[in-house]
Symmetry: C2
Subunit: 377 residues, 2 copies
DNA sequence: ACCCGAAATGTATGCGCATACACTCGCTGC
DNA sequence: GCAGCGAGTGTATGCGCATACATTTCGGGT
């Protein structure tokens, strides 16, 4: 690393001009084979690696696409960081007494989106740079990311609107997993509504259920809202009355859902008076707005001796791994995480090709996974 | 995106020189407040985002750190890509009849490593660029990555030696999760040996086990080898005879482990002659070189009516999520994935600070998770 | 008012590369 | 024997910024 060799060094060593060196790398067919060989030898001997910065500057395009995620760790400032494991520390023995399974869903989610993006980027010869819009210096971080890339895919809600508007003046922006929205950006969204609709259609048509309730999510979650709409679509299509509001709202966490479930259970019991049979007052099916919610309900229902799917049918949304491990396994709707990343990059590329096209929205299809919790084998 | 504004545009609009604009961004304290305000206004009005390429070129440092992963998808060429989900396709209904839980361990693993790296990079104001050394154009991809970063963290085995040597002449390289090796690079490794040692110490000391066997991994896995060494360390320390070779070798997959387990079970049974009690011939404890192997064994043992930990004690290594969902839950050793990424970036930074220091190797401690499969509560 | 040092700002240059354009050859065709 | 041509190569320039250095402005002391 004494001093990284440049085109000039290579040119001198190979006895050619820098233009030829550059051509050997960029447009090999324009150079005679014998010359090419000489240059390659010089490159190899010197350990030459072209500077991406210089190339990017000269070519007016970096060949890098950016991916911007929200901060799932909830770290606001440098001080919030947990201490790193100290090097040389002894092996730690932990008596793991159980408790809720570690929730790494969001990490997996982001990881898969990244994988999809990287895959598609690689296919087309792009590199991927990631950034997390986190902390007080968020604006600066996002700006720097935007300054280094040819296009930026942003996970919905990870960047404040004004900041997004600012960087969008420099690079094309694709918003991932947000609600289809009528702004100036391209969008990749997940078909929450159609997914829930298909799931509930199945519950009604194939399992003959008519008494269904929807457990919603936070008020500010567009996903939860869309899923509720899908729920209503299905009910209406079946000629059933569709509620205006979810029967309840979870905070999307398993623990929160447990509390909610306990409350609901009590209400139903007391509301029916003493001596009533457990759970009879519950809806026949609970369609939850996400998996964590469904799993929390499952915990409480099982604990209370209410059988799933016998007494109550339960479904989730997202397709997290834990839904395969629960008893019974949870019927859910699987998110196209990898596709999300791929589609975002694909859309960015087409935007770069045709900057003038009107903003596009791509709605990705989902997959309904039918398992035991809805009564399927 | 008509034409991204530059410092010149901002300078003109603000009525200052480009040097002042640059200073407002890089060293705000050198600029009078009133001037700063004017410049910031111009920046905001024009939608100015500094070019990372130009800055990198001028500053001779990009502020980007690279992360290079192997291709876990096994994609060699562009043609190998699975078709992306088609847009506008209908919701797919999948009857999920069970089978092995989807193995997303490696994705999670890489994702967590990335998360750790990003976290540490963010802390110090760096960006992270990822690359997957995949396909036939691997050399080019890695070169481009190296050309764009100030330092590169490479997952062991993801880059061929000669290529690594080439790029190491341009940027500092840290090798992650490889065996401690005496090459010119900095290394971050996981203390496989001490982890297994501690685990087996526990089996011997706390559970009084004396008849233990090690289920190894592939011959070419340094990790598996180190874990075996830890196993032997513990036996020897307890005055027990230590085998020269693992009792068997798995291919690190759950399915492969199942096959292996069945074969072993048959051998033991037939070797003992008819009428013998099931499983009595098996070792009292099976220390597996990774979790997938242990889970595969668990599948087969359970199927055969052999109780874990009653008849056979079983342990794994890695700490994948599935070990929390198995019955019984698997005692294992958890990998410091996030720390791996953090430590890599930390090491890169110190290397950038002091290029002259001798190559360093950091050995990350692991955590032993004691659960039911070894007899712990 | 004037001088001097510090603070603030401007000017000029180079980072390493891609590329437009100019140039040199070796041929072909006449 | 020379114009014309294309393949191969060299020369010169600019990409947008950071920064060394030059210059101006400002404030305080006398």
């Amino acid at each position: 690393m004494a001093k990284a060799p440049t085109v000039y060094d290579v040119a001198q060593r190979a006895g050619v001009s820098i233009a030829t060196v550059s051509r050997v790398l960029r447009r090999p067919d324009d150079v005679r084979e014998s010359t090419r060989t000489v240059v390659h030898e010089a490159i190899s001997e010197l350990g030459y690696v072209p500077s991406g910065a210089a190339r990017g500057l000269a070519a007016r395009s970096t060949g890098v696409l950016g991916l911007c995620f929200p901060d799932v760790d909830g770290i606001d400032e440098v001080d919030d960081l947990p201490d790193p494991v100290r090097v040389g520390e002894a092996v730690e023995m932990v008596r793991d007494v159980g408790g809720p399974v570690t929730a790494r869903w969001s990490n997996l989610y982001l990881g898969e989106v990244m994988r999809g993006a990287e895959l598609e980027a690689w296919r087309t010869g792009h590199a991927v740079m990631i950034g997390v819009a986190r902390g007080l210096r968020r604006a600066q971080a996002v700006n720097e990311l935007a300054g280094r890339v040819d296009g930026l895919a942003v996970l919905s809600k990870s960047v404040p609107d004004d900041l997004l508007a600012h960087i969008a003046r420099r690079v094309p922006v694709v918003v991932m997993a947000g609600p289809p929205q009528d702004d100036a950006y391209d969008h990749i969204s997940v078909d929450n509504r159609a997914g829930t609709r298909a799931l509930v259609d199945h519950l009604i048509a194939d399992h003959g259920l008519r008494d269904l309730a929807f457990v919603g999510g936070p008020f500010d979650s567009p996903d939860a809202h869309e899923r509720f709409q899908g729920f209503r679509d299905a009910l209406r299509a079946a000629g059933l009355p569709a509620p205006d509001e979810p029967a309840a709202r979870s905070d999307f966490t398993r623990a929160g859902a447990r509390d909610l479930a306990r409350t609901m259970l009590e209400d139903h019991l007391t509301g029916r008076g003493p001596g009533d049979e457990t759970g009879r007052a519950l809806p026949r099916a609970l369609v939850c707005s996400n998996d964590q919610t469904a799993l929390g309900f499952l915990d409480v229902l099982t604990e209370a001796g209410i059988e799933v799917p016998g007494d109550v049918v339960l479904t989730g949304f997202d397709g997290i791994d834990a839904t395969q491990a629960s008893i019974p396994r949870l019927t859910t709707v699987s998110q196209p995480m990898v596709e999300l990343g791929r589609a975002a990059v694909e859309l960015l590329r087409s935007r770069l090709t045709d900057p003038g096209a009107p903003p596009a929205t791509v709605n990705l299809p989902v997959r309904v996974l039918l398992r035991e919790s809805c009564g399927c084998a």
